[in-house]
Symmetry: C2
Subunit: 131 residues, 2 copies
């Protein structure tokens, strides 16, 4: 078996997804222009990548005049969820709690952060009490 497909978004795909998540939908031209400052890629480069992403099922598109208008089929939330799930299973023994613990140990979370999480969880529990 040779090189396997990357399970999550590659960096080039990530850049494009960010634009699409922000705009909702966009043409190749839109995306290339939006990325121009940080990554001055050739128009065809962006197009090729977006076509591959469509092939992978990450994007849908519709024709509008001569151009294709692309839209993300994968939501930002979905991407976050699957990336997190992958990280948890590969490096944190499948335990999300373990991951959170690590953030605390590395001082990435403050007491205020944790209290906010707690409040959010309680709010959710009381809302979904009888569903």
């Amino acid at each position: 078996m040779p090189r396997p497909k990357t399970p999550d978004l590659t960096t080039a795909e990530q850049r494009i997804m960010d634009v699409l998540w922000t705009r909702g939908e966009a043409s190749v031209r839109d995306v290339a222009d939006a990325l121009k400052d940080k990554h001055d890629l050739a128009y065809t480069t962006v197009m090729t990548t977006m076509k591959i992403m469509a092939d992978k099922g990450y994007l849908s598109f519709r024709k509008e005049g001569r151009a294709h208008i692309y839209a993300p089929k994968l939501s930002r939330h979905g991407a976050r969820r699957s990336a997190l799930a992958g990280l948890v299973s590969s490096l944190f023994d499948g335990s999300p709690r373990h991951l959170a613990q690590h953030l605390v140990e590395d001082e990435k979370l403050t007491l205020e952060d944790i209290d906010a999480l707690r409040a959010e969880l309680i709010k959710r529990q009381s809302q979904g009490e009888d569903t």
Copy 2:
């Protein structure tokens, strides 16, 4: 610019790292045997990958008789930290809190988990009070 180097551990590298993190150090033979059940790779495959990992600086090795004994230069904790940092910056606007919030929203953390985090944080704060 062609395909860029993968910033974090690839899946093949991950498999090998898991063995080394568990054992502390191991020969190619040890690793190949340990992976035999889940991934029956050729001895040379494991060797090639480990050599590449040594080139990348992920592993060190010493000679013991005819064999090379490899040891991880990157700790499990370090790998977790850098993988988390990458994920936070690429998908969570650079906010670890945002990531934790996501775990709550997706019901990956229970109230007990959060309280344990809270306790851990407070313990750490009181310990490192005057360093």
